[in-house]
Point group: C2
Chain length 176, copies 2
């Protein structure tokens, strides 16, 4: 039950400590992505892991809300075969992020709006579809940075919809 | 660490015991979906939970590999605002399935190819995009059924790609 609590408590965090992720921890996180399920076991993904500061800075310029990629010690870009694979990319990303979370590593996915720029930064050819990039890092013990506080004011302020507003039973709109 | 192991060990299973999921367990699974992150905290989803046998049988006819929906005690259909939300739908589904797994409940998502039929079965209007449906159920203590064995022969036979073939470092194709 404890692990379920921890899954439920997972937050997307954008402020990271200036501390690398040890290779064995990073491997474990990538393993969680590798092992997540996919339609007909196609495993339609590849991962480009950016640990190099120059590459991460370039990626940070490729999204409107991607500044935190420059400070995350590792960024995993998931490239899938086609747009229909984005559901499986989301499963894969969530498995990585939840495994990371259980290992003490925070994360936050972010869209790379400038796809051409992201491809250039990673040397990724045309063809594979870019899913949101997953930033990984240990939470900053000093707490949330300025960027994160701005994001939180905007985003967390919206709150979460209650389950009663999200769930229908057997027929759409049947809230009973 | 144990919980990470359990996440890594999650299998998609299609054969379920003839045993309902208690409401509190189902609620907990749905909570994991509700709490999973989404771009700009938009929470672009609604869940239609089919527990009624007639509705599940109708859904089972809406996908080429969906026969197991008829025997799953609960099926969660995730409807999102648009196709760009399928990544978040995948995150949401994976959170539900991993929480379920930790609670002893197996799962398997499946595409609903006959979208019109699925909308009719659920009374879902045009507009929201259907993500794959998530079948939930306790694993059958008698083991995998015929369907599952066929699926396994085809799918698991493909194995999983090794991490070394999936991961590039900093630049696409750099396997070092």
């Amino acid at each position: 039950m404890d692990a379920v609590h921890r899954i439920l408590a997972k937050r997307d965090l954008r402020t990271y400590a200036d501390r690398p992720i040890p290779p064995d921890v990073l491997t474990r996180i990538l393993e969680a992505g590798r092992r997540s399920g996919s339609a007909r076991n196609r495993q339609p993904w590849e991962f480009v892991v950016a640990t190099d500061a120059e590459v991460r800075r370039a990626l940070a310029r490729c999204g409107r809300f991607a500044a935190h990629l420059a400070r995350a010690p590792a960024v995993v870009v998931i490239a899938v075969e086609g747009a229909r694979d984005l559901f499986d990319a989301g499963r894969c990303a969530q498995s990585m992020m939840l495994a990371a979370w259980l290992l003490g590593v925070a994360s936050c996915p972010v869209a790379l709006h400038d796809e051409r720029g992201a491809r250039a930064a990673l040397g990724l050819p045309e063809g594979p579809v870019l899913a949101p990039a997953v930033a990984l890092g240990y939470p900053d013990p000093a707490g949330r940075g300025r960027l994160e506080r701005v994001a939180l004011r905007v985003l967390a302020g919206r709150g979460r919809k209650p389950l009663a507003d999200l769930v229908s039973w057997n027929r759409y709109g049947n809230r009973a």
